[in-house]
Symmetry: D2
Subunit: 355 residues, 4 copies
């Protein structure tokens, strides 16, 4: 059994980690920390966990944490980077669900998160935890930056096209990509903020981060990584606009691209199906079917549909996931499975809750 620690189990990604790991056949949560709730049973705070776990929150004690095989940080940005050195030096792997180890550019990190990075050397060796892109590196990593929810959909939604650009050594899409994304409210976390109240967000729809959002540089970095040595997109070539949907979970990302003549000659449906045929968690919908977010509610699947139009250079890529599972805690467990050599779906064979 893998001994697991969770730092910060009072937020939505924390409770989701507990939900998933409590039924994981080869992992056991042995430590759960929270400064504010130390001494309290987690099922007192989340009655949905009654009968599921006996865990009690404790104070964060680095030495005790280092007895775990792996520690998940379900904390605000800036916490994991303070503990990564001690833990990794003691042989404990780190999976950070916040942003401390996502952006390789210190300048971007500091500009977007208004934090000085505590361990740039560790960051340099950290791996961006998107298994469908970086599986081999994840398997060997000591520190994982678990991807943001939006970047997961954007990067996996574009990957087959960009891989094809690389292998064909020519541009298939014009360098103007629109990522119009929509997220359920749980994506904003468990924070007592006025704008997240039921009476404020229910029966309404809005945009946010319209002037710029932290996930934009992460998306650009992810695309650049796949692009590799070939022509880079400029940051402004990717326009990312997130929206808030009156639903709890679920993320729907609509990607609009303009195909070049070479791109129009492609069979995108077949390209996507082939590209993901061996991925357990990525499902390419059959031609003419489009995903809805509920089809992944509570599960670790990410579904994609592609649509081209006759006599038009435009293509639309639709991507859905549960923002708390494949977009956060599920992906983190998937990373853990890869890191410990388990089958990737271990403990993650969840069927979406529909209706």
């Amino acid at each position: 059994m893998i001994k697991v620690g969770i730092v910060g189990g009072t937020g939505y990604t924390g409770v989701e980690l507990i939900r998933l790991l409590s039924r994981h056949p080869q992992a056991q949560v042995t430590m759960l920390t929270s400064r504010s709730e130390a001494g309290r049973r987690v099922d007192d705070m989340f009655p949905s966990l009654r009968g599921v776990t006996d865990l009690t929150f404790s104070d964060l004690d680095e030495k005790k944490l280092a007895a775990c095989d792996v520690v998940f940080f379900a904390t605000p940005h800036g916490v994991a980077m303070k503990h990564a050195r001690f833990l990794t030096e003691n042989g404990t792997k780190v999976i950070d669900l916040a942003a401390d180890f996502r952006l390789q550019s210190l300048q971007d990190f500091e500009a977007w998160y208004k934090l000085e990075h505590a361990c740039p050397d560790i960051l340099k060796d950290a791996v961006y935890g998107l298994p469908e892109v970086n599986r081999d590196a994840i398997a060997k990593a000591k520190v994982i930056g678990n991807p943001g929810c939006y970047p997961t959909t954007a990067i996996l939604g574009l990957k087959p096209l960009i891989d094809a650009q690389n292998s064909q050594q020519q541009a298939l899409i014009e360098p103007w990509i629109i990522i119009d994304a929509k997220s359920g409210v749980s994506g904003a976390g468990r924070q007592a903020k006025m704008n997240l109240l039921f009476s404020e967000t229910s029966d309404s729809f809005s945009a946010y981060g319209v002037a710029g959002h932290r996930h934009a540089p992460e998306i650009t970095q992810g695309i650049d990584q796949i692009l590799g040595q070939s022509k880079r997109f400029q940051p402004h070539d990717i326009r990312f606009v997130p929206h808030l949907v009156p639903m709890i979970r679920g993320m729907f990302t609509t990607i609009h691209v303009r195909l070049t003549a070479a791109g129009q000659a492609l069979d995108l449906q077949s390209l996507y199906e082939t590209s993901y045929q061996n991925e357990y968690f990525v499902d390419v919908m059959p031609k003419g079917m489009y995903p809805d977010t509920r089809s992944v509610r509570g599960s670790n699947y990410l579904r994609i549909a592609v649509q081209t139009l006759e006599n038009s250079p435009m293509a639309t890529i639709l991507v859905v996931q549960d923002n708390l599972v494949k977009g956060a805690a599920g992906q983190a467990v998937q990373n853990m499975n890869v890191m410990f050599g388990l089958a990737e779906q271990t403990g993650l064979a969840l069927v979406a809750v529909v209706p």
Copy 2:
């Protein structure tokens, strides 16, 4: 492996059975029938099942069904009773999620469901599938009438009090019980009806069945069964009023009772905790905690809280469940587990999806 057939897999209880059974370690769905959808893959209809099952709907063929060990009927009222004889004569057990085998009184059945019963003799031997009440009989049963969602909450909410009446041989509550129940919209099934449209039910709350509801006689029967030879309640002593909540899943039943002097002398909290201490799926909340429906969303748990008031004869019992799981498909699988000698929670150790 238990070979399972499902008749009528296109409704919400049907798809929920598939969700549960697809991950059941000792059962396998080998047949799934639907008149209207024969030949269609179930994951074409419910994309949430893509990657989970390869099942295809077939026409209902009694002989083929009889090759199953057990057949679940997730059909409208009146279907299971037409096939129960053939199946049971061929050694196949029947679990009906509709009402054909719930009411022992033919008169009540015909009055409330406007159907003549096709097999009164089989009905007589059928067992009301509420394991916490009838576990032993279920273990031996050939035909199970899986309880209605509301009766499950009402009967389990009142059972400890009535058992105590029996053991103390005196009345603990006055014979006027108010069952004010609230259900998510999925309880009405997957039917294209105007009043179930999103634009009709969202952001609104209503009552229905105010002049009488089919689950009233079922609740009365369940209470009477527990009451046994002691004083029976008259049907009009139980007032059941259901309401529709703008949520998909979840049932919340508020039971108002008036305690007798003997009843007021009881420690209800302790009575309930003791009563259910060995039940895996029934959770009595600690004093001062009250359940919400999301705490059981997607899981087979039923949670109960009891509240008495100082200087008052009144007591309030709050019961929640997921109407599609403990209120329907989960309870059906629980019954199957009992019938086949499996641990009751086999395949049902689901953690509620929160948030």
Copy 3:
């Protein structure tokens, strides 16, 4: 034009007052105060008011407020009572939407609200602002305690029965009344509390105040007032349990009573229709029709249905209103209309927003 001041326009009852009064043909909001938002335009905070009003929040200045003909307090409990003396001494009428002038019993007020009352003498002359009960007193009042949302439904739901008891001089209902009430989330106000987050309350249903709620003594007082010299109910005879519904607006109150033999002889439908035939805002549904909350969304109507059962002493009274309109701001404007001799529906002829 009536000059209107609003103290505390940043909450939901405040913004609702502005919505209603901005279109009132005989009133004009001339002052709007908020400590925290002084200097800010109200439509900067509530963009729904852009193009509707030019009002800017100012600090509370008693002297300036006293230039108004009437001041509404849409503030927390305990604010209005501090200003009532100054305002009324200067000829300004006061309508408090909080609880300062609801409970005539100082003991009850202090027990339930944990506040010492600042002006018991003014409280003594204050009028409980339920026009359908106290119209004449309201017309002459200087200070109005605008009713709580739940008590409005409970008192108007029971009034015809209790009036009939009085006129028949015999009990028509047994002294055990169950008030099982359900409210939309806006009833909890605009407060940044964790339990009011979308992700906490959406797609879920819960009870609260199960061990006791501030509106219980207010309901009892209201019923007692109608009962007058006849037999009083004891506080514990009324059991009030509120619930939280995942909708923004709307309140649905299910009242369960047990009729005496004399009560069973009554034609309740006719009693209710007659009782409210001259009330503009109270609508008794035809026999067999039941109200839903959306039918009053955004309007000042309160709808009632009554249901009796054959061979049963039980009766059910269903009451709906928009908690922010008839349950708060609309009723306050209705009170203002009565106080200033206007037709009661002036500025309140709003049609519910359906769907």
Copy 4:
């Protein structure tokens, strides 16, 4: 008083017309028809109208309809065109809320609606009822094609930019426009369809019409009309993808454009503010504020925000409206006001219902 007839008052646009017109000071609904509901009071079907109107549905009788000054068709596509000749020949104006008089191209109409047009000559003289674009023509029109909900947002969202292109006689945006639109469920109408059930659409998000949607040619036509003699966009240059939001009312349209060098030199904020400064119902949000759909819920306002980015050619235009008001019935009443020489906001000075 303008005598108004409504054909087809059983759908959502019909009941919304009644809501608006019942409080219109210079119009009176004198006739309301429905084949299926003839003889039934409308408030029996929509209890929200109890106390508001005494209207009863009648059969459609052209002669009686012709006694009206104006007839609204809140019917399926293809109904209005059958009655337009008789009505206009008898001096009755026609406002069709369906698509019969929207598309000037017969070929487009027949291709997208699969109907042969009944009166191409009348269509030729019909006016597209978007007052902010066609006010003068509407004032003189006999037949109005009331715009689709999506085209209203798309055309008004782009108009200032295109007007500026015309006046500057140079391209300001590249000819690739992405219209990523999101609508509440009421936009699909009041139809008993499975995919519109609460349990299917709540807590989920989806796209539809991904391969093509009827509003695309209408948007293109609207843009072309404004473009006039200048360079036309090709149909494929506008990519329109609609999505379904789990809310009742509200439409949010995100328009992504790429500015030319000349476009980047513009101050878009100022351009939009100036462009709409005299429009009662179009509100340009201040720089840095973004609209949410609830800010227009139940009202006839349409709000717009524009966002440019430093060092980027991209611009984003956000547009919200209530799809049933400015997107349908409210705009129809606005058209009526223009046609009959009334102030445009007559009967439409509704304040959005928030929260």
